[in-house]
Symmetry: C2
Subunit: 313 residues, 2 copies
């Protein structure tokens, strides 16, 4: 029987770096992406086409994308929150340039969170995401949608599963390349994630599903495993667990790519990603940031190897 | 249907403090234990009856136990590694004193780890644990056994499940009050834990099972959930994730009690423990140690409560 395979989507260059106090030079971001690809990562969220004044860390989106290698088998993803962002993403492909290979749109499962983040109701955020998917596809560009705050809202607390399922159904009608379920604030637990994935899967049929988890309350890796067991096709992770200001008192880092790869390697699930190369990328990355990266696997190392391998079974 | 219930065994006062560079005064340990009981913890590993020169942090075992309140419904556990330790544990009960309510013995699933830790082979460690259980029971004292390094060995790497199952079967013949499966070095993953718990359960019949996990590679909480789903009756955890020098480069902290309570609360599993009281105990504990406690739930807080609870469902 072939081994189960999960695609990892590395979100460090966007979701990770966006939350760092330091704005990294474009060439360091590109070197980071190179190291991640060398480790075996085939899908990367590389940029965000949002207003450069709102997110100065992403102001170099066009320059970054223009300088990425035209590597086959790799997918470069750009985040877009509106038509203007989509136009910028499409422009990276003008004149035969490689540009981004996919755009990611976002719909938010709670009204309070949608209002604070994007000045929209939850329903409006669904309409915008659907519009982006349709417009991107009409221009021949792959598009997927992340449903945010599906495990809970920082302002409202509980988010109804039925609401998430209904949003997923409406998004699926636009035929996105993928729908992601995101526990944006890191409150979910595995039983909840299993229920969400199962019910969304039943509602959207063959649309591939992705899971996006944060380690804010230490349930991130448990939720990744629950999502994998419940049948998602891909998992978001960020090098070292970058993202959401992991060193603030109320940390919200993404699950670390190293930790996810360790989990899946040891569970017999293939990712195509080399853990040692990731740990080396983590060590390299540290020198370009103001704080250590929180991945525990990067600190502890992988599964112990017997000193004398010849003696081992 | 009554809610599923899991007993938490708080190991912070022993497994946690034993690895702190600072030796805490007896009265601070006692205050820690008081706060944990006030939060609803009913089983606590309070002391270790090992040689005081080997583990100076535990040198006050007798004084500590003598000063514990004679509280009904609570179980005080003392770690013993040999007959001498058992005699000391029994002596705490002499003359009608409450003393410890249970002793915990240890057997180690790999020869290299058993040799380095206790100067025994794995088989010898099983024989010692069985002897301790039989001798304790003969004196009317409850005794349980932890099987260590069941998910992997720092020197040998892989540990066979069949070996762990065989050890559990031999230990079960002594009729311990409980058998714990311990991922001592934090290398396990949920599928492995589920298999171990299932196969040990099948081998030992009605003996209650406990899970003991470390968060070294960020799989601790995922493993707790896998063990709960696979049917363990109790879980070890330590306040704040104390233990195993969590701030060393190769961290090996226990799963944090706060993180386990958050996971189980949100999963509909009862523990009888109040998360807010634990987070307050964590804040109090910090002032008596040299470093922050790594629990992520203590940093991030529990599940968000809507500002205006009257508006919430």
């Amino acid at each position: 029987m072939p081994k189960r395979r999960i695609a990892l989507v590395e979100v460090g260059p966007r979701d990770g770096l966006q939350n760092q106090p330091r704005v990294l030079p474009t060439e360091i971001k590109r070197a980071m992406i190179d190291r991640l690809m060398a480790a075996g990562i085939e899908r990367l969220e590389v940029a965000s086409f949002v207003h450069p004044e709102r997110v100065p860390q992403m102001a170099d989106a066009e320059a970054l994308v223009a300088g990425l290698p035209d590597r086959p088998g790799v997918q470069y993803i750009g985040l877009v929150l509106n038509r203007r962002g989509l136009d910028r993403a499409l422009a990276t492909r003008a004149g035969g340039a490689r540009g981004v290979d996919q755009v990611g749109a976002v719909a938010i499962a709670s009204d309070s969170f949608a209002t604070k983040n994007q000045g929209q109701t939850a329903d409006e955020s669904v309409a915008v995401a659907v519009d982006i998917v349709r417009a991107a596809r009409a221009r021949g560009l792959s598009a997927q949608v992340t449903l945010s705050a599906v495990c809970g809202c920082p302002f409202e607390g509980r988010v109804d599963v039925a609401r998430v399922v209904d949003m997923a159904r409406r998004v699926a009608e636009a035929e996105p390349a993928e729908i992601a379920l995101a526990d944006t604030i890191g409150v979910g637990v595995p039983a909840q994630v299993a229920e969400l994935v199962g019910r969304v899967r039943a509602a959207v049929g063959p649309v591939p599903l992705r899971g996006h988890f944060h380690d804010t309350r230490n349930t991130g890796i448990a939720n990744v495993w629950a999502a994998v067991e419940a049948g998602v096709d891909a998992i978001d992770a960020s090098l070292g667990g970058l993202g959401g200001c992991p060193f603030a008192p109320r940390a919200t880092g993404n699950v670390a790519t190293e930790d996810v790869v360790y989990l899946l390697d040891r569970s017999g699930v293939a990712t195509g990603v080399d853990l040692d190369a990731l740990i080396a990328a983590n060590a390299w990355m540290r020198d370009h940031l103001d704080a250590p990266l929180p991945s525990r696997v990067a600190r502890a190392g992988g599964f112990p190897r017997p000193k004398n391998d010849a003696d081992a079974a």
